[in-house]
């Protein structure tokens, strides 16, 4: 791994490789099934879950519909409360803004709270090139950073690693970044967590600059909200003198009251807890801190302009869709080649980035369209609908278009279908079992050729008048 998703090949190639890794499949199966069961239990506890889900969807849709107004309102509120607001059209601009703000403090080290937005813009690499060391402080992000690895899950980026692998990473790499791992470190999760605590403690207590994202930004009050578990978030948000938050423009919620919905939907959907251990909220410059908010577009307005695709911007990054996805469970997050893996990544990534690369064009196909992701989504994003929409929008090879046209022509008249089926039955022995010739070869790369039956269903029905088991 090289620490960047750039230049990743298309999904089928990544998936093929991942499927050969039985350790990965074992780790993933274990983890996703654990969290799935936990989520289901705490969701069932709430009598009004479906009504909360409907409210969450509507609040987000309203926020997106009036995003211009809410963004300006949030900007005014944050400024009024002593914060500074900056706007970044793309990753490079956001990175430049952060680097300049850090430089202005005279510091060369920052502590970071896990944040998808900063992952998305490759902030750590931008800062490194500017001579600034960005230390990840979430345990899973630390594992990824020390292992020179890539995140593979939205909530638990190191889900592809088991405890034995984590122990090795800590023993080999912690010393390069600060306090080394204890020599007698075991692979007990509590011991590993303790090693991370000691490793990061002095860094927290001396850090002068913290960098975060946010789960929500309240337009009405200018309040930022971060949900987390470990307390590393509180450390980064509270102790440094300067706090810089990089927040996607779709994170806006219209009113303070809207949190009554999202503080129920998010923890239950993501970690399967009634509530996450820590939630911090702050408005502007809290407790004498210097506070900078960077509002990030980076493709979000592209997604917003897609009438069917814009619902992906409702996403609150809970990752419930990853944990129920049969495709994700088998190939893992790296195969999606972006910081947003799984079903939501399969739609969000091409909506944000476009479909110019092979990888991005292949993502809408990284799904079986089973619909489990839609069922668990706390803001009711119809992921299968968007997948089909993006597939239809994408480029199709001439052979496929011609084939589909022929199929359409045949299906359009019962007589034509009958003729075609009869012909197929007669010629069935000529159909190859494994690989179709010519342009069909691409289709059979990842599938077996279905066996052509001796008799079509319609012919069977006519012969037997639909009696079970045929004529008697």
């Amino acid at each position: 791994m090289s620490g960047t998703f750039l230049g990743m090949p298309a999904f089928p190639r990544n998936a093929e490789k991942a499927l050969l890794n039985s350790q990965l499949r074992f780790n993933l199966r274990n983890a996703t099934h654990t969290i799935r069961a936990r989520r289901a239990a705490v969701v069932d506890e709430l009598p009004d879950w479906e009504r909360l889900r409907a409210a969450g969807k509507a609040i987000k849709d309203d926020a997106l519909r009036n995003l211009d107004r809410y963004l300006v309102q949030a900007e005014e509120a944050v400024t009024r409360a002593g914060g500074h607001v900056h706007w970044a059209a793309d990753a490079a601009e956001a990175g430049r803004l952060v680097a300049d703000l850090v430089r202005a403090t005279g510091e060369t080290e920052v502590v970071k709270v896990k944040s998808m937005a900063t992952q998305e813009i490759g902030l750590n690499e931008i800062l490194r090139d500017a001579g600034i060391v960005a230390a990840e402080t979430d345990l899973a992000e630390l594992i990824v950073q020390l292992g020179d690895d890539l995140p593979s899950h939205i909530l638990v980026p190191a889900i592809h690693r088991n405890r034995a692998e984590i122990r090795e990473i800590f023993r080999e790499r912690m010393a390069d970044w600060g306090r080394p791992a204890p020599p007698d470190l075991t692979d007990d999760p509590a011991a590993l967590a303790e090693a991370a605590r000691r490793h990061l403690r002095e860094r927290f207590l001396t850090a002068e600059v913290g960098i975060s994202g946010a789960n929500f930004l309240i337009a009405e009050t200018g309040t930022l909200v971060v949900l987390e578990s470990e307390g590393n978030g509180r450390m980064c948000l509270t102790l440094p003198r300067t706090l810089i938050s990089v927040v996607g423009i779709e994170k806006v919620l219209p009113t303070w009251r809207d949190l009554e919905v999202f503080l129920q939907l998010l923890p239950r959907s993501s970690t399967g807890e009634r509530m996450n251990p820590y939630t911090s909220t702050w408005t502007g410059a809290a407790e004498g801190q210097e506070f900078h908010l960077i509002l990030l577009d980076n493709g979000r307005t592209n997604a917003l302009a897609d009438e069917i695709g814009r619902q992906a911007l409702r996403c609150i990054r809970c990752s419930a869709c990853l944990n129920v996805c049969p495709v994700y469970e088998r190939v893992g997050g790296h195969a999606y080649g972006s910081v947003y893996p799984g079903p939501i990544g399969a739609i969000l990534t091409p909506l944000l980035r476009g479909t110019a690369t092979d990888l991005d064009a292949s993502l809408p196909y990284a799904s079986s369209l089973c619909g489990a992701c839609y069922d668990v989504c706390p803001v009711a994003i119809d992921i299968p609908e968007v997948l089909v929409h993006l597939r239809a929008k994408g480029p199709h090879p001439p052979a496929e278009r011609l084939g589909m046209k022929a199929v359409g022509w045949t299906l359009n008249r019962p007589a034509r279908l009958r003729l075609a089926q009869r012909a197929a039955s007669r010629l069935r022995r000529l159909v190859p079992r494994r690989r179709l010739p010519g342009p069909g070869a691409a289709w059979t790369d990842t599938r077996d050729v279905p066996a052509v039956p001796e008799e079509s269903f319609r012919a069977w029905w006519r012969r037997t008048e639909g009696r079970e088991g045929g004529a008697r």
Partner: protein, 203 residues
């Protein structure tokens, strides 16, 4: 054109002509009377925190017992914490002038009250008001003892959101610091306080 203007123009163009959205709030909303102290205690215990429910006049005894059990002697006490909650002979650290991070790290623990507590989720919320102190006080020391008067307990999340003031920095706490990053096993105690004790002052 500035990035601000460019982004806002792109947003406006993207949603031009989209229909308005109606937001229905037919979920359970705020205003369902007081929260159930028993349910609150049970839900806090689910996070593997220790909970002691005592009559209001026995809070100091419960605090003394909890501190003794954790071996906590030098304890940070934020200004405004009710004196009757504190046992006699406590070695108190005051946050005035503000304690440095190293001093907080060296303390055995911190005692606070809270702004609101939520029964359904077992959550306590601090808003830096009297008896709670600034956010670092309940973060850096490894042990947090929180006294929750029963009158501060509300039934569910919407009641808490309705009661809280967003202009204050808020910290919502549900059990001790925890991580699930290693094979999704929950491990208590990473960067925040490893131990959370809650004393509920009933009635």
């Amino acid at each position: 054109m500035s990035s601000r203007e460019r982004i806002l123009a792109r947003v406006r163009a993207a949603v031009a002509g989209a229909p308005p959205v109606r937001v229905e709030r037919d979920h359970r909303t705020a205003g369902h009377g007081p929260g159930d102290a028993g349910l609150f205690a049970e839900r806090v215990r689910d996070y593997r925190a220790a909970v002691h429910v005592v009559p209001a006049d026995q809070v100091a005894d419960a605090v003394a017992r909890a501190l003794a059990e954790r071996g906590a002697r030098r304890v940070v006490v934020p200004d405004g914490l009710p004196e009757e909650w504190l046992p006699a002979g406590l070695e108190r650290l005051r946050d005035d002038p503000p304690l440095g991070a190293a001093a907080l790290d060296a303390a055995d623990g911190v005692i606070t009250g809270c702004a609101v507590a939520i029964a359904e989720t077992g959550t306590i919320v601090l808003d830096t008001g009297p008896g709670q102190g600034r956010r670092a006080l309940t973060l850096v020391p490894d042990y947090h003892l929180c006294v929750v008067p029963a009158a501060r307990i509300v039934p569910a999340v919407p009641d808490a959101v309705a009661r809280l003031d967003p202009s204050r920095p808020l910290t919502w706490i549900s059990g001790p610091s925890a991580t699930s990053d290693i094979e999704l096993n929950r491990v208590e105690g990473v960067h925040g306080p490893r131990t959370l004790d809650v004393v509920v002052a009933a009635g």
